[in-house]
Symmetry: D2
Subunit: 349 residues, 4 copies
Amino acid sequence: MTTKVKVAIIGSTGYGGVELIRLLASHPLAEVTSVISSSSAGTPITEGYPHLTSIREELLDDVEPAAIKAKADVVFLATPAGVAAKLVPQLLEAGLKIIDLSGDFRLKSPALYEQWYKKPAAGEEYLQKAVFGLAEIYGDRVTDVPFVSNPGCYPTATLLGLVPAVKEGWIDPATIIIDAKSGVSGAGRGASLGTHYSELNENFKAYKLNQHQHIPEIEMVLSDAAGQPVVTTFSTHLVPMTRGIMSTMYANVVGGRTTQDFIDLYRSYYEGRRFVRIRPEGQWPTTKEVWGSNYCDIGFAVDARTGRVTIVSVIDNLVKGAAGQAIQNLNLMMGWDETLGLQFVPAYP
Amino acid sequence: MTTKVKVAIIGSTGYGGVELIRLLASHPLAEVTSVISSSSAGTPITEGYPHLTSIREELLDDVEPAAIKAKADVVFLATPAGVAAKLVPQLLEAGLKIIDLSGDFRLKSPALYEQWYKKPAAGEEYLQKAVFGLAEIYGDRVTDVPFVSNPGCYPTATLLGLVPAVKEGWIDPATIIIDAKSGVSGAGRGASLGTHYSELNENFKAYKLNQHQHIPEIEMVLSDAAGQPVVTTFSTHLVPMTRGIMSTMYANVVGGRTTQDFIDLYRSYYEGRRFVRIRPEGQWPTTKEVWGSNYCDIGFAVDARTGRVTIVSVIDNLVKGAAGQAIQNLNLMMGWDETLGLQFVPAYP
Amino acid sequence: MTTKVKVAIIGSTGYGGVELIRLLASHPLAEVTSVISSSSAGTPITEGYPHLTSIREELLDDVEPAAIKAKADVVFLATPAGVAAKLVPQLLEAGLKIIDLSGDFRLKSPALYEQWYKKPAAGEEYLQKAVFGLAEIYGDRVTDVPFVSNPGCYPTATLLGLVPAVKEGWIDPATIIIDAKSGVSGAGRGASLGTHYSELNENFKAYKLNQHQHIPEIEMVLSDAAGQPVVTTFSTHLVPMTRGIMSTMYANVVGGRTTQDFIDLYRSYYEGRRFVRIRPEGQWPTTKEVWGSNYCDIGFAVDARTGRVTIVSVIDNLVKGAAGQAIQNLNLMMGWDETLGLQFVPAYP
Amino acid sequence: MTTKVKVAIIGSTGYGGVELIRLLASHPLAEVTSVISSSSAGTPITEGYPHLTSIREELLDDVEPAAIKAKADVVFLATPAGVAAKLVPQLLEAGLKIIDLSGDFRLKSPALYEQWYKKPAAGEEYLQKAVFGLAEIYGDRVTDVPFVSNPGCYPTATLLGLVPAVKEGWIDPATIIIDAKSGVSGAGRGASLGTHYSELNENFKAYKLNQHQHIPEIEMVLSDAAGQPVVTTFSTHLVPMTRGIMSTMYANVVGGRTTQDFIDLYRSYYEGRRFVRIRPEGQWPTTKEVWGSNYCDIGFAVDARTGRVTIVSVIDNLVKGAAGQAIQNLNLMMGWDETLGLQFVPAYP
């Protein structure tokens, strides 16, 4: 009989945390042994999440590194910006493996973090230690490392859609424009006018234009792929739906490539990576077609009239954009098949 | 190594059919070997359902009993009213086990079927042969039978909420009023003004008052539980959401029972049945708390002022109300644990 | 040229307040001369409500009775429970006419108010002074009075659907069951988990069963209509939409009346009242069919099998259920045609 | 007493038609004297649109030019592509003034029409006769003409957001990228999988990339403003909501203009035009902030890092994008104030 890897979740009462609970419930080699919440420690998680009735009835644990280590081998951090920066040193010290779903360790420059996040950065030593786990691009760097920084939701959809073309020099990186749209769950469970039903339903809004904290994360990877600094226009919009992100991306095509050329390039680039699905010509993915699953689906349209390509990339922001990719990183860290426990069929309709 | 039971799905391009595909994809003892659609035979199922890209790429089969038998042991029928009535005799003849998700074999009286469905009934011999598979009530009748008729979505939510109280004589069956609400997916994938987005969004409507074809199915089981004929008021409403049913039910309480009495009775009645979850006092389940799962959650409120109990019962109409309960019936027919392949955590939010 | 009546709105930054602004903008005989908010006084209303850009650019006033009187003749109170109780004495003192949209003055018994609202009641003298302005039932009492208490949203939909039948003795009041559903705007603009988009979208929930503070208001009017004390079962549900209320109501029919009998009775009862529309047999109104308008639409279904009638009544909770009926009461107080400034066609789709 | 201008609506049973009915119901100088539908002639419009109960109870007329002329002076055509092309010659012949809401007369080149609409074009003589009524740009051309072609919904939002900057040479027209999003009502009332609730709810999709028939209309006006041929990238997306369009537009800024420069330019360009509202720096309009109204709201964000401007423009597609602007054109044709009968406050929330 297999002994399962023991997993703890800090931030269990946020949407990222409960999604980890949902997905890990059927993982064949990992089990959640501690659900942790500093704000609700000592109460049952079913109080805030009755959908977990009879599934997880235990009380929430508090954030105590030694106690966590006694119960678990790996810890997921699904906490608001600024929290992981403080906890990670103690957790590493306690000998835990870490997968951090927040943005605290994605950027390698403290100055850049502080500019975009408006918060003190984590210690530089720890920033350097964290491996950026964009699985299909940097997955090979994750194996056997103790500390992975899980990518943001917008960057995941965006970068999986752009990296192959940028790497091959098929698009001019200076012309990239990214128009991204997200469901409301990306804003988390905190109650505010910005997440109020009556304000969002039957409404479509743009927000944080040119100011979103995912911009430097996107530019970091694009620059790496291009081999030169890339600066981009990245816009975010809120869609009246709960889950799903679409990035619609535009760039000037280099060298007269066609839609089918792009399809072929991406199919070849992502060969063997089960969670990226490249759509045939004339078909663009919709967010619902990946709902509840770890897929990232990508479609293309090259326009001969304008010489531009439009790339459409979709994910479920809570799965591939958060909890799902985090588990994919767990699988990679452990040397397991990256799809383990993640082969959910999208829930449609 | 286990040999899996081979399963075919007739009506694969309807919502019930694709939900069977989704759920069965992770079943440990069953595998889908043929997806069948009379209207789309010969085309890939991904044409109409791109979310199945890379998951099920094969072409849809046609409805040919012998060919089905060559590929499968069990067949699910997820077809519109009237279709199963015609197919079942040939499929039984071919030696297939059958689980019919339509309403064609739920009522045992041809006259009653024709009165409510406005269609010719199936042959009486076959009506008698079909076992009504309301799993938590009649599950023991299903073991080893070759032909199960899967309950309707509204009856499932309603009857699981009413049967224990009716059976025990705790409510007066003559006073039962059922106010039911459903998401739009219950109406199927057919395009009509009645399923048009702009007509349903930001709208709430009542329909088929006193005329819904699930009324006789509900009364059949209530009468059985009461030991006397029961006639009920049953109303249906359309909610601007895709999945979910709530039945809010009212009845006069007999013998001064309290909310806690009801909770205790139901917990005892459903002991050991994993898919029914009885909520504590003061908590009523919402439809999203069972979204994507096979749970039926039930809550109670006894009002001393009026002497009435209000019972709230929710399911995901495509899972517990259709494909999930059908697989539960497969499990029961095969003598397996009824929860096999069905332990999905509700997707929340 | 006509001099318009000057109107002030206290609570302008709530949904009731902005809806008053929207509706009064085209009133031929009234104009809003002061928009008031104790919490946001001194800031422009467009800060919180950019949709009013170029329409109302002035700063919000504070709540000062003398200053209000200097600017206005009539004041609408669209404030949370408990606020009007304190303000009304001063406003009456200042010589203002008052229409209170809150629940503070609807019940005539302080004890009843405190039992259901869990707050101190207004002074009994003022409770007696306030005329309950359910326009189509008690409209004649409103003419020329200085102080009107505007009915609740649920009571409006419910009572317009029940009063004629109760008054005529066509239904047994002891058997009335009211299953009500509301859009989320009824909960106001306050941010909480209970109004969070991701928690409500694709969700349907029951709440406050047997405990809603509108219960005594409904029973007050039903008792008046029946000529005897009436106790009812009243349930409330939240629908994933912004506006709209439907009350589905059940009762035992007395004397064998048919659906058409009910239609005829109600058409006769509401003759000349433009805002109540009785639907023909076989047609039940949907909430969207009154969206943005002051209509209350009502349909019927008598079931010979059960001897019960189902009555479906819909309103826009922010219009007929709040701001619209308040303006209707203004019209009645002033002796104007009750439809003045309120003849909005429902916005469909 | 004023005699009102008599107005007929062809295509009354489409969403554009019923919106004309809604808006014209309160127009001070025009009245609808005939509601026309070739498909439903002889039946009451309330059959398909119960929300018009007691508002418009008459039977639908058939499309007969002479009969229309007997009842009306002006006719609105709210018909599917291809219908107006056939009807307009007869209606002009009958002496009627025409406002055509379809795309049949917007493009001046028959070849271009046939390339993008895949239908036979209208006669070139009539194409030339039709004045393109983008009110805030070409409004002065409309006065006193007998035949106006009303702009498309996407072009209205897009062009009002781009024309001033293109005209002034503040943005490089070769770099313009338009990412547009629309609610579902833009697809009309026809039932199809593409308008099916369960397919669209909780879903966001891209469609017709580089192929939308509004592209040549947008390029026609941009070329006119630029004084040189402009080719653009224009993408369309479907948002799970009923009404509303947002165009998010990107272009390289010429000459170092700032956000405030753009705001000042647009405020000056649209001075005196009540229906365009320019938002202050840091504020971008949302679709709900114009819901049900004739406003087009525009916001800006210049990014010094990239040298690009992002322009956000929103309208209600059924009002400013169809019926509202058509009435605005009626007002202009008649020499009336363009705001007559159109001063609706947006319905928020």
